[in-house]
Structures are given as C-alpha cells and as structure tokens.
Symmetry: C2
Subunit: 547 residues, 2 copies
Amino acid sequence: MAKGKNILFIMFDQLRWDYLSCYGHPHLHAPNIDRLAADGVRFDRAYIQSPICGSSRMSTYTGRYVHSHGASWNGIPLKVGEITMGDHLRNASMDCWLVGETHMRADAEGMERLGLEPDSLIGARVAECGFDVYERDDGMLPEGPDGFYDPDGAQEYNKHLAAKGYESDNPWHDFANSGLDEDGNVLFGWFLKNSTEAANIAEKDSETPYLTGRGIEFMDTHDGPWCCHLSFIKPHWPYIVPEPYASIYGPEHVLPVVRSDTERQNAHPVLKAFMNTKVGQTFSRQDVRDAVIPAYMGLIKQADDQMGRLFDWMGKTGRMEDTMIVLTSDHGDFLGDHWMGEKTFFQDASTKVPLIIYDASPEADGTRGTVSDALVESIDLAPTFVDVAGGEIAGHILEGHSLLPILHGQLNETPRHAVICEYDYSASPIADMLNASVRDAVMFMAANKRWKLIHCEGGHRSILFDLGNSADHAGIVATMYDHLFVWTRRQSQRTTRSEQQLIEMRSKSRGRGIVVGVYDENDAPLDLTVKYRGRTARPYTDLINKD
Amino acid sequence: MAKGKNILFIMFDQLRWDYLSCYGHPHLHAPNIDRLAADGVRFDRAYIQSPICGSSRMSTYTGRYVHSHGASWNGIPLKVGEITMGDHLRNASMDCWLVGETHMRADAEGMERLGLEPDSLIGARVAECGFDVYERDDGMLPEGPDGFYDPDGAQEYNKHLAAKGYESDNPWHDFANSGLDEDGNVLFGWFLKNSTEAANIAEKDSETPYLTGRGIEFMDTHDGPWCCHLSFIKPHWPYIVPEPYASIYGPEHVLPVVRSDTERQNAHPVLKAFMNTKVGQTFSRQDVRDAVIPAYMGLIKQADDQMGRLFDWMGKTGRMEDTMIVLTSDHGDFLGDHWMGEKTFFQDASTKVPLIIYDASPEADGTRGTVSDALVESIDLAPTFVDVAGGEIAGHILEGHSLLPILHGQLNETPRHAVICEYDYSASPIADMLNASVRDAVMFMAANKRWKLIHCEGGHRSILFDLGNSADHAGIVATMYDHLFVWTRRQSQRTTRSEQQLIEMRSKSRGRGIVVGVYDENDAPLDLTVKYRGRTARPYTDLINKD
C-alpha cells in the first residue's frame, strides 16, 4: 500500500483545546496525544464553524460554512443535495467510513421528494452525510417523559453491553453513564452531583474503549485507501467515568475559573441571556465545577490511554506508515468560564479546538513537532483529505483550504483573513428568553489573530473581544464587519460549475452560434458565422400554399 | 370548478417594461394587455433577481434569490436539491405545467450522484425545475462552428414547421428567424441589419402564435387546479418579425435614446467594460437602433394580438372566471440606453419588468385597474401562487412575499426595504476584459424607491444611481449597504425546518431526557426527570464476573 493513502480522522465531542497537555494543561498529562503532536503538526488556532455538535460537524463533513449548508442547529436536517466529504473522497477513489458519532439528521422530506430510499446505497449515504456506516453511535439514549431523545442512539453499544451481562433495558444509561449507591440505586450522570461517582461499568466496557476497539476492527478488516472517521462521544456529558479514571483527579486539579464580575455586570443582552441559562448559572458554582471537571478530565485521560492503545496497534500493523492521523474536536466546553456552561457562545473555550495532524509521508518530516499559528477552520479538513487522496479539490463547493502545504512546510498561513463561526439559537429556549424571532435569533463571529467580533441579529450592538467595550474600537469593529460582509457575499451556492468551467464558458456560446450585437457579416469573425452564410431558402408563400 | 383555482403564468423574454402602452409607451399600443391591466393590478416597481434569462427564471421558479439557489448565469445548473414552484404547488394540490421556455439547465452531476433517472417522474421534474412538461421550447436553435447552442431547442416547433412545408433542416432558423432576398438568400436575424426585413414565415406559423395555440390546447385538455407557465421566447432576439408586424413601426416610432456623454466619460470601470462590449458599442449606433427597435416593437405588438386571442378564448370557455392571469417578463433590454445593449446591468431598462396580475375572485374587485407602487420582486410570484392554491407558504424556503394582500386591497406595500438583484459575469468574456477572477466577477444591486446601489466585488468603488457620484452621498451609500448586508446574512439555507418547527424545538429535547446543567433531582421539574429517578441496578462486578 502506498504511503499516506489512508486517513484516520479522530474526533472527540466537547473536548476543550486547553485540556490537553500539549496545549498547556498543567495537570492533565496526555502522553499519547503528546506523542502524536510530536510526530505531526499541532494547530494552535483551529476554529470550528458553530459551537454546537450537529452544525459544527455538518460543516466539517461538507467542508462548508453553516450559512452555506443550512443545518444550523442540532436536529435541523442537512439538505438532501449537499455534497459531503464522502462524495468528494469517493470521487478521488478513497472510501469514507464512519465508526461512531456524526450527529447527522437526515432530510427525510427531501429524500422523499427525490424518491431516495433510506436503505439504498445512495439513500443510506445521503442519510448518513456521505459516510458508509461501519458503526453509527451518537452515544445518546436518554429518555424523558416524552420518550427517547434519539431512539436510534447507542443501539449496537447497548447490545454489546447486554451480551456482556449488564442487566438493564438501557445499559448505556444505567451502567456506562451512571454510578450506583450502596442500596442499589442508580446515580445518574445527568445529575452533576453524581459526576464524583465512578460509573458502574468495567473500564474496558465503557464507551471510549469500546469505540476504540471498533476502530481497530475496522482498520483490521478494510483495505485502503480509506478515510475512517473514528468519532467519540466522550468527553461529552453525561460527565461520569469509571475507575480508575474516576479517582485520578480532584478539585485540586481544577483550573481557576476564567471570568470577572465586570464581564457579567456589563454583559451584552444576548450574552447575558446565555449566562442566565440554567447551565450557565449551574456552572458558575464552584461546587459544580469541583464535581464535574475532575470527571471531565478523567474522561480525557481515558481517551488518551485509548489513543495509546490505538497508535500502538497501528504501529505494529504498519498503519503508522500509510495512514494520516487527524485528531480534533467538534467544539469545547465553557465549564463555568465567562459565567457559562456548555458551548454555545464564541469565546475560545468553545470555538477553538485541538487539531493535530500526523502525516506519515516524508514531505512532512520537516514540520514534525511544530506548532502552526495559521488561522484554520474545521472546513479545511475536507479539502485536506481530498488533497491527501490525490483528488482535485472542488473549490466551488469546498469552502476551506487544504492544510497539506502547511504540513509540508510550504506555507505558514491559510489564505483567509478571518475565521467565521455561527450560532443559530432560533430553536433554543434562549430565543424565548430574548423574545427573539426565528430570523433574528442568529449570531455570527468573525475573528482574526487579534480580534473577535460577534454580530447578533435583531438590532443588538456588536460585541468585540478582547479589549472590552467596542465603542473605543470603532475602526476595528468596521474592519471585522468588512471581513464578515465579504464572507456573506461569497458565492457559496454556485456549486454546479467549477472555476475552470466558468472560465471555459466565457467563449463557448459564440462558437455555438450566439452572435449578439452583430450588425452584419463583416462585424464578426468569419469563422463564427460560418453557419449563417451562404444558405438559401424559398419564399414561404411558395411552400405552405401547396398544403 | 371553484373560482381562482387555476393560474395562467405568462412570461415574455426580454420584454422591457416601458414598451407597453399601459406603462406609458406612446406608440406601441397593446390594447389587450391594457385590458388585462384594467381588470387587474399593474405593478409599477417589479424587479427581477438577475438581469439574465436563466438566473432570473430560476429565482422566479424557486422563489429564492440567486445567492440562495446558485444558478447564477445561463448554463450554470440549478442544484439538484432546490425546491421549486412546482414542488410547492403540488404540495398544495395544484399541478404545475410548462408550455414554452424555462432556460433550465439540469444538474446532471447531482442527479447522477443521487441516482435520479431523467426519464423518471421525479427525475424529469428535477431536470425541468419542477414543471411537468406539456411542451418545452427554449426557442433557441442557433448553430456555430462548434455545433448547436442547445441541441434540444425548438424541436417540437421545428417539427411543426416541417410538417407545414417549411423546407429546411432548421426552419426555426431559416424561416421563423430570417428574411429572404430576391435571389433566395437567407437573411439571418442574427445580423441586426436584417431586422428591417420581414421574417420569411406566415404570421400564424411564427413562434408567438404557435406557442399561444399550444397554451390554448393545454387549457382545453387539462382540468384544474393547474398552474400553467406559458412562457414565450419573444420579443427576445433574433429581432425579426413577419408581416404584417414587420411594417407597422419605423424609425419615427423609436423613442429617443436615454444616455449622456457624462455617463460614458465618468463611467465606473465595470460599467465601462459593459459599455465597451460589442453589443454595447453596436447598440450605441442610431442606425442599429432604427433597424432593431421597430422589429422589437413589432414582436411586442404581435404578442399583444396573441394575448387578445388567448383572453378571448378564455372568456368564451369560462377560464376568465376561474383563472388568475399573471403577465410578466424575465428582464428588459437596454436597446442602446446608457450606452448598452442586451440586459446585463442594473438600470431599470433591464431590471424592472412589467407585471400585471388579474385575479378573478371578488376579493380583487376593489383593486381592478389600479397601479401598485409596492417594491415587488419576481420571487414574490411563487408564494403568491401557493397562496392562490390555498397552501401554506413555506417561509423558510420561499424568500418572497405573497402579493394576494395587495391584490385584495389589504396592503399597499410588501415588507421589504430594498429589492435585490445580482449578476455573475464570471463565465462571461467581460471577466477577461476586466481581468477579474471567478470569485470577483460578481455584482449586487440593492434598490429602494429612491436609490439604487451597485456593489461590484473585486475592490471596485460602489455605484449609486440616481444622483451621480456616490462621494456626495456617503450616508445613503451606507444605508443601502446596510440593506445589502442584512440581506446577505439571511438564513437562506435553513430550509429543512419551518419557523414553527424551530419554535417547537425550543422545548422538545428536555422532554426527551436532555437535562443539561442540573445538579441534583431537586434542580429540575420532577416530571422532566421521571425516568431518572427510582431505578436500581446491580454492581457491574456482580454481573460480568459471571461470564
């Protein structure tokens, strides 16, 4: 097998960039991920396109901004016509497989309109955002009074646990994501006080080792060239981890919270609404942070150990020689910073993600162990992968840039002036808190290396990070708005003709007989009017009078 | 049949708004179209979304801006997933048929990707932008050294002419669109000097009467409710018309050219490039205008007479009682005004179109014969038609507004602050003239009732119509840019969930078990955590050790 012909595309869910030792965490030693960074390039300014799982991933999987693909919140389906990483890679003769989570919601109406059967090859790919499915596991099978959040969640994993002897109608829930008290009561990970408990499951049976094993099985049974999207639900909530990881970290390892009273007192109305959510208020409590963050760190430590297992296996089987490894996350987690929980705003804790790329090829030898300061977006991965597969990057569809020139030491920067991130809260309760219409409950972020502008629809003033009050920085705000405006005007939907085709079209119609604005035969090159000269006919009165 | 349950949607190609007597033309009396205006509402500020056939029509047929659907020039296919007027109308139990031109280019690659066969019912609709085809006739079968512009053009019409006795391998060309000299030489309508000739065809066999007849045949054979798009190629070039229309108008009926030397001397570089095109230079000659415009007027006069035939037939058969009639155009024609020919810029001669709507229902009695000053776009037609069909307007997909409230006297204005028009010249030779990249060869227009702003990508200064130099009107430019920026930020791709669905989603996930940021059982309403309380399990060590 030729070198560099597979891609192992590892994604964690809700893994915050600065909770890895290679990004500077003082307590969370992740030596296996450190090793990957030492053998590859660590990107220090990698941004996602939306601070929520589904929309961020749909951007990654299509290589297009949320504003372009429209799946702007969890549960908003990806339009049936969108072209995915899988489509592009298969065009370049590389398979594209899923092992794990995508958070894809299929466009059932669109599929029905176009007569696409979900169980056909094409229909299944459309329904799974372009992947062939080795295992789909969105890792979420919670149940409320109205039923399951995702009845298809964690099905294979639950079967696996049941076969192992975990007695429950939902072992994902009762064992993998819950503790147990001495009286046999299940202590659900949903309640953050239980994050201090150990999950009632053997470590090897918990979600991250299970999916790592499935990834190894995939690689062991599939010839390349493939791209394998190995996509872990963890360290996403429920925040609970089995032993020994439950006992490694304590409150003494929790980083000081990053926030100020001023931040809350002068908060922009939209930002204030996010602070005032239940999750914002809860994570503003230090006791909650002290309960949750050690479990979150334990989940990451477990993930790193599983990466060690994975990389060791790849080394033994030759996969380290022929496989690019990409490790990233779909967004971060505020964990109480800036008076917020969860991820749905634009500070770096949420929108900046770890991104490490190990390229096995000799062209990358010069950059191993380096850190790139380039402004990178998660939409850069799809064109990077097409580049690795040796395909032609469809620049009229893919809105990012291949990172291969950076990995190969040929460039230090991407061509972009600003990264863009978007959040649509029209389907979130926060829209009701702000009394915002569906059209106005939308925000855009434009950021360069110095400034981050947030534009909130609905007539709100803009927000400028990092220097506080935007009124003192009108010129910077204007510049950042320029970046945003240029971006909004891009031709994101002109996806059916490539740049080269458009250029070729410039002269095509004249050769096919369209000669516009030509007064007489001498007014155009003779070769263009060859079909319009020297023809004869008869007066129509001679012809149709015969009828 | 219930009243107002059919729609006859008549479109002419390249019919300039001020070349109709009801819009003020002093010489071109069009009494039949006048009659429609007297019985309906004449819209005085109706704008198209792009000054070129294909893109303008794709906006009309999808109800979406060019920036949303992406078919930004002739020959750029409409993406396979786009939802059309036909899809919306069929959802509302109204058929949607085509008789004539659409300028649709099917997305063959996208159809293949999704496995859609062009000869299946769904595939055929996708390939014909949502219409069921009674007759497709784009009316263009020119031939150049590289072959035919559109090998499928005018096929049925050519068969019809051949059956009538017109002897030629391309009677569309040699008879319908050419004259004949005394020696039997074909005088092609492509050469503008021949516009003074009569087309060598019996008037009843020429394109407009032929298609009018096909429209009547359609209505005569189809029960409603239907929307019939009766779509004429004329008065589009080749500019040549048979007798008696060839002899009605002469140079004395040609309106004075609208242009000034200042306009050309101070021209913005992009505008100058359009003026410097072959067609711009040619139409700047008065002898060309004197040759072409009388033929153009003859074609319009013929169209009006055919409208008389059509409306008379509809009156006799009861169709005037149960059918809404909409008459419009896809764009205008500069005809030498502003030193330009053709249509591809933003002055009203090109971007403003005639729009007359006759609504048979009694609710419209109060507005008959009135003129509406509302800012209307051609994307308003699709939602208007859905409204007529009694369907629910999918506001998350359709970007226009129903005109029924105006037709019924309930409103005087649409909700918009500005109309938007776009032109993508990346596939035009003008891009080479300006040395513009594919991404930069794009322009946007934002206009309200007073001002019209043109933004040209590629670092050019902006253009402000109507008061000359924009430097004196910085505030107005800024306001118009605000309108444009707000528009570019709209969620045009969030088409898979309606506003109502998004609002319902705000509270849905909690009921399905997602309780985020909850510290303990008392921290959330009890009914939300009903599935998370009172469950028991056994220690995993008791279970899996049995294996």
